[in-house]
Each structure stands twice: as structure tokens, then as C-alpha cells.
């Protein structure tokens, strides 16, 4: 348990991560090993982290170094008290924190310590939330979600889980809504500039066309399922290889996927290294993102909110493919099989709800603005300061008007 950490432990980390870890080695040495391994796992990804994540790491280490030490001790003590098997703790965790955490997780389940671990995490999460609140300089965040593109309306009520939190609109003209939404994100990007602070994710082909023909602009970070097809296929190929090898099970597969790195041949769209790595993680860590576009959009929205903590975000759920045998979905033959419109609408509706929940986890959530629209219809729901909760509105207007009403 008392393994010491040396600078040489960081030699396999990428350059910026090595430097960051070395700069903070004194604090790192003072931490309970399990907690330290979690921090080191984050630090080892430093080169590919978004600015918000880097600020987060620095702020956490600053808090540990400068806060009342009795308080720090009481927050971290539950990590030190976890019942972890000695063979797991004997692993070279500072060198390979990701592998260690994988084994640790399995061990916590086996020793029935997983709840104690989550409790420790919750306690630390409260501290982290306060740190983020204090450091937060964001303005009112904006999140727009489109669901139901290409879907029949059906009879199921829409936005059911969100209605208690906002106002339901039944007569919104959605003509040009997507391009109006994109213009609004662009407007937000001009008003609140920042790297990776404004995002557009499309479950189909991107609706954004820059002057150079790409689907990105300098101000908006953009991802589309269609453009990322080469990365998706590469990951499916890796999954397929493991599945058909007859060697190892899900844990081996997880290790193989974790060790994949973004390279030029997995490049999708006009992206920098940080974005390429982010995209790869969406497909290697996101369960189901490789097979269903609706899952991809929901998971990507979650990861953007969690990691980049953006100022504005536009998600567009599209039709997902029909359910097929998992062997086919994860096989190398990726031919089209038709779409599931009814399922796609339900998936998008739930995805919108989860996006709102994830938005609520960010600092300044009370001031955030959230809109979800049925793209091929007239229904929308908005949650924003000043808008009544659990209300319905028959106001007639365009999508642009709706954005004005929540401004």
C-alpha cells in the first residue's frame, strides 16, 4: 500500500502529462494510493484533455495543497480505508493507472466494496462540485436538442420526463429550425469565445458547411456520425477481431480498446489531435455508440458536457438503424439494413432527458437554457430561468421566436 512514486514512473506518459505529474509529485506522494491512481489516470491523459479538464486537475491539486488538512484528510480517508486485495495494490499503479483501475474495479465488486467506493467518490464529488462552482466563469449555458428527424410522430407523449421542469410548446414552426439553431450557436461562440466551448453533434450528415467544404468552423467543434464512419469501422474491426479470436472475454476486449490510440487512419473529418483522441474514446468507451447513431449522440452529448463543460451545445438525433443480431452489428459487414423511426424517436426523447440531467450537473446549472424540439413537427419544450415549470403554451411562433423567449 505504501508504494512510493518516482518521476521515472511517468516515463510512459505523453510529454505534457509527464511534466504535469512531475510538477505535482510532492502532493501526489501524500495521497492515498487508490485516490492517487485515479488522479494519475486523469493526468496520464493530460495531453488530450480539454481546457476545462486541465483546469479541473490543477484546481483539485491546489485544493489538496492549500485547504484545511484535517478537512482534506477526512474527504480522502474513505479511499484509504477501502478493502482492496494485496495483489491488486502490488500492481505498478503509478506507471499503469488505467490497467490498475480496471483491476481495482473488478476487485471492489468481488470484495463487495463497490458501494464504499462510490460513497467515497460521492463525498469527494461534493468537494469537486464546490471547487468547480468557485472557479466557474461561464455565462448562461445553452443546450438545443433536435429529435425525431425522419420520424412519424406516433401517439406516445413527447418530452414526458422533462415536462415537470419546463414549458411545453405545441405550435412552433420548425422550418429552418436546424439552421437557425446553428446560427444561434455561432452567435454564442462570437459572444463567448473559447476553445471547445461550442459544439454541434449530428447523428447523421452534418448540417454545417464551412467555406472549405468541411463540417467544422473555427468557432464550433463539430462531429457527425456520418463523417466519423472511418473511426467507427476501425473500432468495430478491433472488436470483431477480439470476438472471433476465441481468446479472452469482455475484459480482454476492454483492454484492447483502451490501448487503441488515434492515428491518421482513424481520422474522421478535419480534426486536431485532441479531437481525434476524444472521438476515438467515444467509440471505444461508449457502449453501443458503434452501432446506433442515437446512442452515439446521447453519449457524445454526455461526454462533451462532462469533459468540455461547454458554453453551448447543439445535438441532433437522427434515425438509427434497425436492431439486428449483435454478431452482424459488430461484424465487419456494415451494410445498411434500414431504419427504425419509432424506436429512434423514443431513443431521442430519452436522450434529450439525459442531456438535460447532464447539463444540470454543471456549475451555473440554474441559469442554463435548454430546448428540445420534435424536428419534423411543431412540438418543443424549453427549460430556462423565468419560464414556468410544468406549463403548456399555445403560443404560435418560429423556432427563432422560441430562442428569443428563453434568452
Amino acid at each position: 500500500m505504501s508504494r512510493s512514486i518516482n518521476i521515472s514512473d511517468f516515463s510512459s506518459y505523453p510529454p505534457l502529462a509527464q511534466q504535469f505529474a512531475a510538477d505535482h509529485i510532492v502532493i501526489l506522494r501524500s495521497l492515498p494510493p487508490v485516490f492517487c491512481a485515479f488522479l494519475l489516470n486523469e493526468i496520464s491523459q493530460y495531453d488530450w484533455q480539454f481546457p476545462a479538464e486541465r483546469e479541473d486537475l490543477a484546481a483539485q491539486l491546489r485544493w489538496i495543497a492549500t485547504a484545511d488538512q484535517a478537512r482534506v484528510g477526512s474527504v480522502l480517508a474513505p479511499f484509504a480505508n477501502l478493502n482492496v486485495s494485496s495483489d491488486v495494490m502490488d500492481m505498478p499503479w503509478p506507471t499503469q493507472p488505467a490497467l490498475f483501475l480496471e483491476r481495482l474495479t473488478a476487485d471492489l465488486w468481488l470484495t463487495h466494496s463497490i458501494s464504499a467506493f462510490y460513497e467515497a467518490g460521492r463525498k469527494y464529488g461534493d468537494v469537486l462540485a464546490r471547487i468547480r462552482d468557485e472557479e466557474d466563469s461561464s455565462s448562461s449555458r445553452l443546450c438545443i436538442v433536435f429529435i425525431g428527424s425522419g420520424c412519424e410522430r406516433g401517439r406516445q407523449p413527447l418530452f414526458e420526463k422533462l415536462r415537470p421542469h419546463g414549458t411545453y410548446f405545441s405550435h412552433i414552426d420548425m422550418s429552418n429550425a436546424v439552421s437557425d439553431a446553428l446560427a444561434r450557436i455561432e452567435h454564442e461562440a462570437v459572444a463567448h469565445p473559447g476553445s471547445y466551448q461550442h459544439w454541434y453533434v449530428d447523428g447523421g450528415k452534418s448540417g454545417l458547411q464551412a467555406a472549405d467544404g468541411s463540417d467544422s468552423t473555427t468557432r464550433i467543434s463539430s462531429l457527425s456520425y456520418s463523417n466519423l464512419d472511418p473511426v467507427r469501422r476501425k473500432v468495430i474491426e478491433a472488436i470483431s477481431t477480439v470476438r472471433t479470436s476465441g481468446v479472452g472475454g469482455p475484459e480482454h476486449l476492454r483492454t484492447v480498446l483502451r490501448e487503441m490510440r488515434a492515428r491518421e487512419d482513424t481520422k474522421g473529418g478535419n480534426q486536431d489531435e485532441m479531437m481525434r483522441e476524444f472521438v476515438l474514446r467515444l467509440f471505444t468507451e461508449g457502449s453501443g455508440t458503434q452501432v446506433f447513431s442515437t446512442t452515439f449522440v446521447q453519449w457524445t452529448g454526455r461526454e462533451i458536457l462532462r469533459r468540455a463543460r461547454p458554453q453551448s451545445l447543439l445535438l441532433r438525433f437522427r434515425l438509427r438503424q434497425k436492431e439486428r443480431p449483435m454478431d452482424e452489428l459488430l461484424g465487419t459487414d456494415q451494410s445498411e439494413s434500414g431504419y427504425d423511426p419509432i424506436g429512434s424517436l423514443a431513443d431521442g426523447d430519452m436522450g434529450a432527458y439525459y442531456t438535460w440531467i447532464n447539463l444540470q450537473r454543471l456549475p451555473g446549472a440554474a441559469n442554463s437554457r435548454f430546448v428540445v424540439c420534435f424536428e419534423d413537427g411543431r412540438e418543443a419544450l424549453a427549460i430556462a430561468p423565468g419560464l414556468p415549470k410544468g406549463a403548456s403554451s399555445g403560443n404560435v411562433g418560429t423556432f427563432k421566436d422560441l430562442l428569443r423567449w428563453i434568452a
Binding site: A106, W109, L110, T111, H112, S113, I114, S115, A116, Y118, E119, G121, G125, E160, K161, I239, V242, R243, T244, G246, G248, G249, P250, E251, H252, L253, G286, S287, G288, T289, V291, F292, T294, T295, Q298, W299, R302, R320, E323, R324, P325, M326, D327, E328, L330, D340, I342, G343, S344, A346, D347, D349, M350, G351, Y353, Y354, I357, R361
Partner: protein, 389 residues
């Protein structure tokens, strides 16, 4: 291992869920009283009790299901048959807590042994404690044809017998893995059965079926008295592996009428792919399968009036509000909601229209069934649930 501690948070959430399920059932009862769907004048009252059970059918969902998609108000649309047909005849346990490992194979092994099993969920190893099947066979001197397990995928193939030195495979259940059976029998067939041979998204990597417990497929088909052509014809017309399990169960009951039949359904676990609609579709399919099984029991003189059926998910799934999870998609956080579920018990010897709000545990199932069947679950750590005895 005794599972995780029963701390205040788990107790509080489990109790809240219990109250919410109870309240919902009251609402259903009130509604149905008006429409005579249940034909009840009051709810929560023991109106009828049948004689003790001679036969037992257990249905587990080896794909956790949450309240939100089952017994919560917003979940009722997904389980119309259980609500309309089974609950009015059942004792309903509103608070079943699983304090063990939340992986489907290991959790179902826990259900089958009455002990919190602790092994790698993805490893092809048997439970370490004796199973219900072994207790029953040894104490009542039953042969393997009287105890059957229908399990969903390769990962479950060892669930029929433990590695316990005093019990073990010689006393285990006869295992049927419908997908494996179909795969074997379909060789040479011109019909495509790939859609039924899939594995779940989570366990999409291949794990070899243990040879130690695998009866040859032709021998198994023979013991099942399964008409291969009919089976293949049926398989070509269905869309889910759980439908195959239902077919095998119905066939088995008609042909061999085993005294103890354990079925683990698995379609719900498609939730891991993140598509909410597929998850809720699977719940509705599972709901229908449970009702169809009950109907088959009622239509079979070998079973009618002398069979009890228990239905329960192995556990729940993550809460929408647990930051470490992604809602319905997984059961990775071990949060109280993912550990809290429900159980429906109905049939011979079980009171109708009763709701039990006190907490029971997953490990209580085996001692309860053992008591009903008259065998001694000597190594089980749970306690018999008196409300159904």
C-alpha cells in the same frame, strides 16, 4: 461473502421504492375495481389461498429492469400482462435487495444458491455453493429429468450445478441453452437463424461452453422429446432468443412435466447498447412471456393447481441521477436503485392480492423455495420468506 453492508442509504432508497411500488399498485387496484379488471373489492387483502405447491417454476430476468420501466407509474405501459393478469393473483414483494455483485451470471448464481456468490462474472466457472437444484435432487431423490434450467447464453452454462464437494454436477439440473441447441440442430438447415444466435451486447466476446456439463445436443433433443423440424420452423418465425426459451419451457412442461423448472430470460440486457426503445420493447416481450408461461401452467393438468411461480429481475439498473452511470444503460454503479427490485409470487400455496413491503433479499429465494419443496438448503445464507409459506 455476505454482500455489501446494508447501510442507511440503501435501506432508505429501498424503502422509498417499496412505498412507491405499493402506492402504484393501490392506484391500479382502484382503477381496476371500477373496471372490474381484477374484480376486487379491496386491495391488500388475502382473498384466496391455494393448496401447497408440488411443482415450482422460477423466472428470472438476467437483464436488470428498473422501476421506471416496470412498476412505477410511468412504467406500467411496458408490463400490461403482469399488471392485468398476474398481479391480481399474486403476492407482490415491493422491496427485494441484491447486496452482491451486479453481473448477470453471478447474480443469477446468487439467486440459484441463496448465497452471495463472488466470482468473475465473465469466467466460465460454477457457483461455489450448492444450488437449489442440487438440494432438491439430493433430498427428494429426484433424477435429472425432474429438474431443468433454461438459460440464455453461453455465459450461463455452469449455473445448473455448483462446484461444492458434497454436491456438484452429479446432482445438477439438466441444462438447456436454447441458442446452443438451435445452433447445433440448425446445422445444414437453409433457414437463417443468426438473429437468434446473437449474444448480448455486453457479453459479445466469445466464451467457450464448458464441455463438462454439455450434454450432446442430439441427446438433449431426445431427452426433451423435441421434434427438430417443428423447433426449427418455430425458430424461423420468432425474433428473440427469449421466445426460444419460452418455446422450450412450454414443450418441456408438456412432454416431461418437471417438478422444478428455472428459466432465465435475457433480452432486456439489450439496454447495454443504449437504445431505450429496444430496452422497453424487451421488457414488454418479457412481460408477455411471463404471462404466456403462466397460461401454459394453467392449461396443463400436470401443473394446474399444484404449481407456484416466482418472477423476479436479478437486480435493477443505474438511476438516471447517478453521475457515475448512464441511466438505464448499465448497472455499474452499485447504487441503491440498481440493487433494489421486486418479486411476484403466485400459484399453489401463495396468497392472492397481497403486497409485502418489508425488505427481503435475493438470497432469500432459495431457502423459501426449498421450504416449499421440502428440501434443506443447508448452505444458503438467506432466510425463508414466511409470507409465501
Amino acid at each position: 461473502m455476505n454482500g455489501i453492508a446494508l447501510d442507511g442509504n440503501l435501506l432508505r432508497v429501498a424503502t422509498e421504492r417499496s412505498i412507491s411500488r405499493r402506492r402504484f399498485l393501490w392506484d391500479v387496484a382502484r382503477t381496476s375495481a371500477a373496471t372490474t379488471m381484477f374484480g376486487l373489492s379491496s386491495f391488500g387483502q388475502a382473498l384466496h389461498q391455494q393448496p401447497p405447491a408440488k411443482k415450482l417454476v422460477v423466472v428470472t430476468f438476467g437483464g436488470g429492469a428498473r422501476d421506471e420501466e416496470t412498476f412505477a407509474v410511468e412504467g406500467q405501459r411496458y408490463i400490461p400482462r403482469m399488471l392485468g393478469e398476474l398481479i391480481p393473483q399474486a403476492t407482490f414483494f415491493t422491496q427485494v435487495v441484491n447486496r452482491g455483485i451486479l453481473g448477470h451470471y453471478v447474480a443469477n448464481a446468487t439467486l440459484a444458491t441463496g448465497c452471495y456468490e463472488s466470482f468473475n462474472n465473465f469466467a466460465p466457472i460454477p457457483p461455489s455453493h450448492p444450488t437449489l437444484f442440487e438440494y432438491y435432487r439430493r433430498d427428494l431423490r429426484r433424477n435429472a429429468d425432474d429438474v431443468w434450467v433454461i438459460a440464455p447464453s453461453n455465459g450461463f452454462d455452469r449455473i445448473g450445478a455448483s462446484g461444492h464437494p458434497q454436491y456438484g454436477s452429479k446432482l445438477g439440473a439438466t441444462m438447456v441453452l436454447p441458442k446452443q441447441l438451435l445452433g447445433g440442430l440448425a446445422k445444414g438447415s437453409s433457414e437463417p437463424f443468426d438473429h437468434l444466435l446473437r449474444d448480448s451486447y455486453e457479453a459479445s466476446s466469445s466464451i467457450d461452453v464448458s464441455q463438462e456439463h454439455a450434454v450432446s445436443l442430439m441427446e438433449l433433443a431426445d431427452r426433451l422429446k423435441l421434434p427438430v423440424d417443428q423447433f426449427l420452423k418455430f425458430a424461423s418465425g420468432v425474433t428473440s432468443p427469449d421466445e426460444l426459451s419460452l418455446y422450450i419451457a412450454q414443450h418441456l412442461m408438456a412432454q416431461r412435466a418437471p417438478s422444478l423448472l428455472w428459466i432465465t430470460l435475457h433480452d432486456i440486457d439489450v439496454a447495454h447498447a443504449g437504445a431505450y426503445s429496444l430496452y422497453t420493447d424487451a421488457i414488454t416481450r418479457t412481460d408477455r412471456i411471463c404471462a404466456e408461461l403462466w397460461r401454459s401452467i394453467q392449461e396443463n393438468p400436470e401443473y394446474k393447481g399444484k404449481t407456484a411461480m416466482f418472477i423476479l429481475p436479478d437486480f435493477g439498473r443505474d438511476s438516471d441521477f447517478e453521475p457515475g452511470g448512464n441511466g438505464f444503460q448499465h448497472h455499474r454503479t452499485g447504487d441503491p436503485l440498481s440493487r433494489t427490485t421486486w418479486m411476484v409470487a403466485l400459484g399453489a400455496g401463495i396468497k392472492e392480492n397481497i403486497s409485502v413491503d418489508r425488505m427481503v433479499e435475493s438470497v432469500d429465494l432459495v431457502p423459501t423455495i426449498a421450504k416449499i419443496l421440502g428440501c434443506n438448503a443447508a448452505f444458503a445464507s438467506g432466510r425463508p420468506v414466511t409470507e409465501v409459506l
